[in-house]
């Protein structure tokens, strides 16, 4: 029972961090209908920039975070402006492939700049593990979770109340109507990419703080797909719930099944769950069923 509670609780914490990364994906998908395969690479780049600011420039994290946010926003906006803008109206597969190409470029560039070796962050949070009754939580994981939740909350508030958030929701809802109400839809696309990149890179920093940074950090980005399919592609709350489910499923599978298969089940389990869900519900658990007309 102890192990079960332990697995569930750390799965829950990891899930919160996944939720933040999935948010980075959903923000872009919701506004622009683009499936961003490069979300994982945005994470990785964010983590590397933060690492460089902390280690090479020896800045304090309180300066580092805003700087990373600015850099990520620039990166996201630049990508949208330079590449995705040209892809408006192209078939789905082309857009998917462009983002895959983008992820390959970012991965290669990161490896050229920072090398392929493994680096770990200087300590950001107090080292002492958090002990709740019989459960022991790693401090990096716990504080990372708290940070992720704060960022998610900020995004939700911006989306709900700020003018730019309302405009983004309007664009996602109906582009033509939003356009006729004086919202600059193209600017909204750019802003969505900037927001998506910010969410992803903050998630990257948190993950990097737990497990260290290396170019393959972005592979965690693949986990976004089970999360968003579980939660529904265009639902922000769904992404958060999906994040928690995937975190817990993954930890349980890792804890109970990995010993029998010599590892690897942990990363695979979410995808098996995903396949079952797709067999039963082709549009995911909370996704809107697309109605097609000729």
């Amino acid at each position: 029972m102890d192990i079960f509670l332990q697995l569930i609780s750390s799965g829950f914490l990891v899930g919160g961090i996944y939720a933040l990364i999935a948010l980075g994906f959903v923000l872009i998908y919701k506004a622009t209908n683009i499936i961003n395969f490069a979300t994982g690479e945005f994470m990785m780049i964010g983590a590397y920039i933060f690492y460089s600011l902390m280690v090479y420039l020896e800045l304090s994290p309180f300066v580092g975070f805003p700087l990373v946010i600015v850099c990520a926003a620039l990166l996201g906006a630049l990508v949208e402006r330079l590449i995705l803008r040209h892809m408006l109206g192209q078939p789905n597969i082309s857009i998917i492939m462009v983002t895959i190409g983008l992820s390959s470029i970012l991965l290669g560039l990161a490896e050229m700049i920072w090398g392929s070796s493994f680096r770990s962050f200087p300590p950001l949070f107090p080292r002492k593990p958090i002990i709740l009754g019989e459960i022991v939580l790693r401090s990096n994981l716990f504080y990372g979770f708290v940070m992720a939740m704060v960022v998610v909350a900020v995004f939700l508030i911006v989306f709900k109340y700020a003018k730019v958030g309302v405009a983004m929701r309007a664009t996602a809802n109906d582009q033509v109507a939003a356009f006729s109400m004086g919202i600059n839809v193209k600017t909204m696309f750019t802003i969505s990419w900037a927001f998506g990149a910010i969410a992803a890179s903050l998630g990257g920093i948190i993950i990097g703080n737990i497990g260290g940074v290396q170019p393959t950090l972005g592979h965690i980005g693949l986990k976004i797909f089970p999360i968003v399919i579980l939660g529904g592609l265009d639902s922000i709350i769904g992404a958060v719930i999906g994040g928690f489910i995937v975190g817990i499923v993954e930890n349980l599978a890792g804890g109970y099944l990995d010993p029998y298969f010599y590892g690897g089940v942990k990363d695979l389990a979410p995808f098996i769950v995903l396949l079952f869900i797709l067999f039963i519900k082709p549009y995911g658990l909370f996704g809107t069923k697309e109605i097609e007309r000729l």
Binding site: M97, G101, G108, L109, F271, P282
Partner: protein, 347 residues
């Protein structure tokens, strides 16, 4: 000189060879292919074999993705299924190569049907992610089902034997590869003159309209997955017989992405495009490698940039082609051909 484009019968509309000129150049190509192994060295023969094997895989994927419009991120896994089937059959049951080849194709086709079966209900993004899951699950099986696949050490096999000839070097293998490439390309080209191939295109263009016209979506989407995976299986079987070994690291997700990139760079929905793409995507990394090899004398650590540089160029190629030349190399080829049609009386 060939001018204009007028056709009076359906037969001439569907003809593969439009006129004698194209037959002539095809003949020249066959002669070159036959002479090629006798004049080049081992390295080029090795590359030619790799390209040939890749072409078969790329043609398979192009039928599924380019022509039938079903995105698959699991193509490398299907190639892997074919490869492992061939390796297991030949190492455990000592089956002759000529029996292994169709059997591994059929095995892959069976897996393709299992994965593609639900594609009637899944569309676009959702199908893409389902095939991604299939890729990851199959990769896991390759690594972890050690009693069957040999785990990460893989399986070693002896060189294939056809009619008593042991294909133990690149030169002999070349003829097998070329024969199979020609068979597959011809089959694929002719597929689109039949009801099935035209049904694929109708489904790609608009699946609902296709269904209204009486095309059974379930049946034809399953066909598309089966044909595509069958070719993937052939490609996998050739691949392991060529390298005489099979390990899980030959079939990662990145390989699936590379195949998708091939058909995009080459031209989606075009058989010729698959060939161009396969050649291009095999030759370019080698080119980068040799350029960096030259630079090593000037910058001693140039080789450490090889992998990341390949990644960057690979990504750039995909992005540049999609943004500037969405129909790929096949379209560029068509433009060049058209330019010379009326040359020098071009207007």
């Amino acid at each position: 000189m060939y001018i204009g484009d007028f056709k009076e019968t359906y037969a001439s509309d569907q003809a593969v060879f439009v006129n004698t000129t194209s037959r002539f150049w095809l003949g020249v190509l066959f002669v070159l292919l036959a002479v090629f192994p006798f004049v080049v060295g081992d390295y080029l023969l090795f590359m030619a074999n790799l390209i040939g094997i890749t072409i078969i895989g790329a043609v398979g994927l192009n039928i599924l993705t380019g022509c039938a419009g079903q995105i698959s991120l699991g193509h490398a896994a299907f190639i892997g299924v074919g490869g492992y089937t061939a390796a297991i059959l030949s190492s455990r049951f000592n089956m002759p190569f000529l029996l292994c080849l169709p059997l591994s194709g059929c095995m892959s086709a069976a897996f393709g049907i299992i994965v593609g079966g639900p594609s009637l209900r899944l569309k676009g993004m959702y199908l893409c992610i389902a095939t991604l899951s299939a890729q990851l699950i199959l990769e896991f099986v390759f690594v972890h089902w050690e009693s069957m696949t040999g785990g990460i050490r893989g399986i070693n096999i002896s060189p294939p034997q056809i009619f008593g000839v042991v294909l133990d070097n690149d030169f002999k293998f070349y003829f097998l590869t070329v024969t199979l490439v020609i068979i597959c390309v011809t089959a694929a080209r002719n597929l689109f003159r039949t009801r099935v191939g035209r049904a694929f295109i109708a489904i790609r263009d608009r699946d609902i309209s296709a269904e209204l016209m009486g095309i059974s979506l379930l049946r034809y989407k399953t066909y598309a997955f089966a044909v595509s995976s069958f070719m993937a299986g052939l490609s996998g079987c050739l691949w392991v017989n060529f390298l005489k070994t099979v390990t899980p690291e030959h079939f990662p997700l990145l390989e699936s992405v590379r195949y998708l990139a091939m058909i995009i760079v080459g031209g989606m929905g075009s058989i010729l495009g698959s060939i161009f793409g396969a050649v291009f995507m095999t030759v370019v990394p080698e080119g980068i490698k040799s350029i960096l090899g030259l630079l090593v004398s000037v910058f001693p650590n140039a080789m450490s940039f090889l992998f990341p540089l390949q990644q960057v160029i690979f990504g750039l190629l995909i992005v540049i082609f999609l943004v500037f030349e969405p129909h790929g190399l096949a379209e560029i080829w068509r433009r060049i051909k058209n330019y010379f049609h009326l040359w020098p009386f071009d207007h």
